[in-house]
């Protein structure tokens, strides 16, 4: 079944940065009409490999063969000319431009007089979108689309340039379940047409579903290259981490009978309607549902970010009213936001400034900060949560996603919050860091703290929650024990929501 020559073959690619051997003799063969998964923990050399493949940087040594002939990919333009399209994790679309303009950005069809041929832009864009089965008009302003649709526009750019190979870096990090399914269908169609696809992801359940073969990197080396079609998740995990990690989801049962928080009939102008639930001490309450179903909005309503237009929150038996975030924080609530980059971290601070940001009042006397206590507490938390010690000296933009997420959680450990709302806490972080987050959840519940977990990773939500509230259209449809729910139930329960646009990002 192996065709004679691979479309692309990368032989012994080596790339060193000062002090780090990022890629050590990595070999990858990409076949036309095949989806190839590139896996590994953060820092394993995946990004380096992608940069080499897309011409962003040059390898120190090694050979690149295209259809069996040696080539150099000197820059991103050269990669494009060789038919390689890269969809990076950070979108490169311009939100204020139309879909058509984005698809042909930098490559606009011109008429004879050098003027942009708008008819051709729209017709071609419409053709590409129709081919992809995407129901979006080329004239739509891209920023008004949902994140999932924007992702599809990003891929449409690759399709429009007739890419023979597409590299997708974490393509589903921001997508809901049915959007992922749509993307996968699209990738299967492209595979049919003989496109080679390199699929980089942390979501192993997805990898299992879509890829034909995998290459696993660890510390810059290939630890496993599989030409087989049958992929076993637990084998992948142990290959990635380098040890048998045993239980992937180390769930502890710490829920008690005491109710700490009760919500009755909550409503907001951001779309939350009649939300009622109770949260027990030591419990993990999962909020399931698709992207845009209103889970994040429920979190914002609880945290005092969005004003309640109806309903009542009761905390430890006392009715409370949070006029703003600080009221919720003082009452013991914490919010780890979905987008740690935009809403969570202060990239201008080291770990210390990030850890104490929500507790400056308690840390200061007459407005003067106790910097010694801050350094000490940060030092302890870094050690406790096994955060990279670089965080003590450097600003947090130098840290990996997993370390960054731990720092956001550390902020709420420092503030001694009792109820933590974790919105997509493991999005975009590697397996090792995910497990560290799960263990952290256990530790918190063991200490009698309660957690509201929002996650689009159904396996994670099912495994880590005690009960799950299914959210649709901004309201909780039903609340059930996690053990009574299967993956399929959850997908079905949340999937029949019509696509709704996610609320505009925090203003």
């Amino acid at each position: 079944m192996t065709p004679a020559t691979p479309l692309w073959e990368f032989v012994d690619i080596t790339k060193a940065y000062p002090g780090v051997l990022a890629n050590d003799k990595v070999c990858i063969r990409l076949m036309p009409g095949s989806i190839h998964g590139l896996l590994g923990e953060n820092g394993c050399g995946k990004s380096t490999m992608i940069k080499t493949l897309s011409g962003v940087q040059q390898p120190d040594s090694g050979q690149i063969l295209h259809n069996g002939k040696p080539v150099t990919i000197s820059d991103p333009q050269a990669a494009r000319e060789l038919g390689v399209a890269t969809v990076f994790q950070e979108f490169s679309i311009v939100p204020t431009l139309s879909v058509g303009e984005n698809i042909f950005l930098g490559n606009m069809p011109r008429s004879r007089f050098g003027v942009i041929d708008w008819a051709k832009v729209h017709n071609e864009a419409a053709r590409v979108l129709a081919e992809m089965n995407v129901d979006v008009s080329p004239e739509t302003i891209t920023g008004s689309l949902s994140v999932g649709e924007q992702q599809l526009v990003e891929i449409a750019k690759a399709v429009a340039m007739d890419a023979r190979m597409i590299i997708l870096d974490e393509p589903t990090a921001a997508l809901g379940e049915d959007e992922i399914e749509r993307l996968h269908q699209l990738l299967r169609n492209m595979r049919e047409r003989g496109t080679a696809i390199l699929y980089v992801s942390h979501r192993l359940d997805e990898v299992e579903r879509i890829v034909d073969e995998v290459t696993i990197l660890r510390n810059g080396c290939v630890v496993r290259a599989s030409g087989e079609t049958k992929i076993n998740v637990s084998e992948i995990v142990s290959a990635m981490v380098g040890e048998d990690i045993g239980e992937h989801y180390p769930k502890e049962q710490n829920a008690t009978k005491d109710i700490v928080l009760e919500a009755a009939g909550l409503a907001t102008n951001s779309g939350v309607k009649d939300v009622s639930f109770s949260l027990h001490r030591g419990e993990v309450l999962g909020l399931g549902g698709v992207l845009g179903s209103g889970r994040t909005e429920i979190a914002r309503a609880l945290f005092g970010t969005d004003e309640l237009t109806g309903g009542q929150i009761t905390l430890n038996g006392k009715p409370v009213r949070f006029r703003r975030e600080i009221d919720a924080i003082r009452a013991g609530l914490a919010l780890v936001p979905e987008n740690r980059k935009f809403d969570g971290l202060f990239f201008n601070f080291r770990a210390s400034g990030n850890v104490t940001a929500a507790s400056l009042g308690g840390l200061s006397r007459f407005g003067v900060l106790n910097l010694k206590a801050e350094e000490q507490a940060t030092h302890d938390l870094i050690r406790d949560l096994e955060i990279s010690t670089q965080a003590e000296e450097k600003t947090v933009n130098f840290l990996s996603g997993g370390n960054q997420q731990k720092i956001v959680i550390a902020r709420w450990l420092f503030s001694a919050s009792d109820i933590l709302i974790l919105d997509e806490p493991t999005q975009g972080i590697d397996i090792g860091a995910k497990i560290a987050v799960y263990k952290l959840i256990n530790r918190l519940t063991r200490e009698g703290k309660s957690i509201i977990l929002i996650s689009s990773d159904h396996d994670e939500l099912l495994a880590m929650s005690d009960r799950i509230a299914v959210v649709q259209h901004g309201t909780i449809m039903r609340t059930v024990d996690a053990s009574d729910l299967t993956h399929d139930d959850l997908v079905r329960a949340s999937a029949d929501t019509p696509q709704s646009k996610p609320k505009e990002a925090f203003a």
């Binding site: 969570g344 990239f347 400034g353 407005g367």
Partner: protein
């Protein structure tokens, strides 16, 4: 202490020393005691106002209003002293209060009216100059009070008074920015306003506070300006706001907010004033001075923007490889 005197000071300090060396080598009179003392007088007004401008920039705002506010406040002070007959000891605190209130007004409109500070302070820049002209039919007011001049020209232990104001306010500002809750909140708001909201920081209040500080420091500058010339004039303080912002930028404050060191602003102000002084001593016309000031600002921002490339280049030149280039570019994106 390592927090205040950190690496952010090295660049601005080096720039200041290099500029001073160049001027000292090319201009004989530069190192005369008379000139040096004159230099500290010259830098004082812009450096004091720049404290406020810099703190506004730390919170990701911009203050264009200070130059006009100086003109307005000198006219109000002159009016009070000369025509209303308010004694100096009462007039000075009133001017400081008014500066703070004008700042509060700008801050409230900016933060709660959600209008970018570039616009609110641009409007203030124009309106304050107009307001200043409504006093005394738009003419300057001279010979205000004999007790006013010593505030600027007086000496204590042989050291000009403005030197003490600089030390006092810069120590206070450095303490505020590095050791207090307010300072931390200002950096947090400038670094990531939406994260600041979600950590319970009252972002609007913090933003407003930075403008109150800026207004207050502008009032301090206005008093010195009046004392220096024993007068008030609607024409005082032209382009002073730009010089103050330039001092912040030359000192390495990021216009995107959240990053910078307040003490570096003093060095930035010194750098600018030394250059101006050098040009003055060499009898360069003011047109040339403005062109040079423009180039300095461009160079300072350029160095900030191209930092990654520069360190990469240095690495190649001196054989020390730089790995931060690619990661920086990615993280900034």
């Amino acid at each position: 202490m390592k927090r205040i005197f950190d690496t952010q000071l090295i660049g601005p300090f080096a720039a200041m020393v290099i500029v001073a060396l160049i001027v000292a080598l090319t201009t004989e009179r530069f190192l005369n005691p008379g000139n040096l003392s004159n230099l500290s007088l010259q830098v004082s007004i812009v450096a004091l106002i720049a404290i406020g401008s810099t703190i506004v920039i730390f919170a990701a705002g911009i203050d264009l209003s200070s130059g006009s506010m100086v003109a307005l406040l000198t006219m109000i002070l002159a009016q009070m002293l000369k025509f209303v007959g308010i004694p100096l000891v009462l007039a000075l605190p009133l001017i400081l209060l008014m500066g703070g209130l004008l700042g509060l007004f700008i801050g409230l409109i900016t933060a709660y009216g959600r209008i970018p500070s570039f616009i609110t302070t641009l409007a203030a820049l124009i309106a304050f100059r107009g307001l200043a002209l409504t006093f005394n039919n738009g003419s300057p007011i001279f010979s205000l009070d004999p007790a006013l001049e010593p505030i600027f020209y007086g000496k204590l232990f042989g050291v000009p008074m403005p030197f003490f104001y600089l030390v006092f306010f810069y120590v206070l500002a450095a303490f505020t920015m590095n050791f207090t809750k307010l300072g931390r909140e200002i950096y947090a708001v400038g670094g990531n306003p939406s994260a600041a909201v979600l950590t319970g920081i009252n972002v609007r209040k913090v933003q407003t506070t930075t403008f109150v500080i800026a207004g207050f420091m502008t009032a301090v500058g206005a008093i010195l300006m009046s004392a220096r010339l024993n007068s008030g004039s609607p024409n005082y303080g032209q382009t002073l706001e730009l010089q103050a912002i330039a001092a912040a930028v030359v000192g390495g404050a990021s216009l995107a907010g959240g990053r910078g060191n307040i003490l570096a602003t003093l060095m930035g102000a010194m750098t600018i004033v030394i250059v101006q002084n050098g040009l003055n001593l060499n009898a360069a016309p003011s047109s040339v001075q403005n062109i040079v000031l423009g180039l300095i600002i461009l160079l300072a921002v350029g160095i900030d923007m191209w930092r990654a490339e520069i360190s990469g280049l240095m690495g190649r030149m001196f054989g020390r490889p730089s790995s931060q280039q690619s990661s920086n570019v990615k993280k900034e994106a």
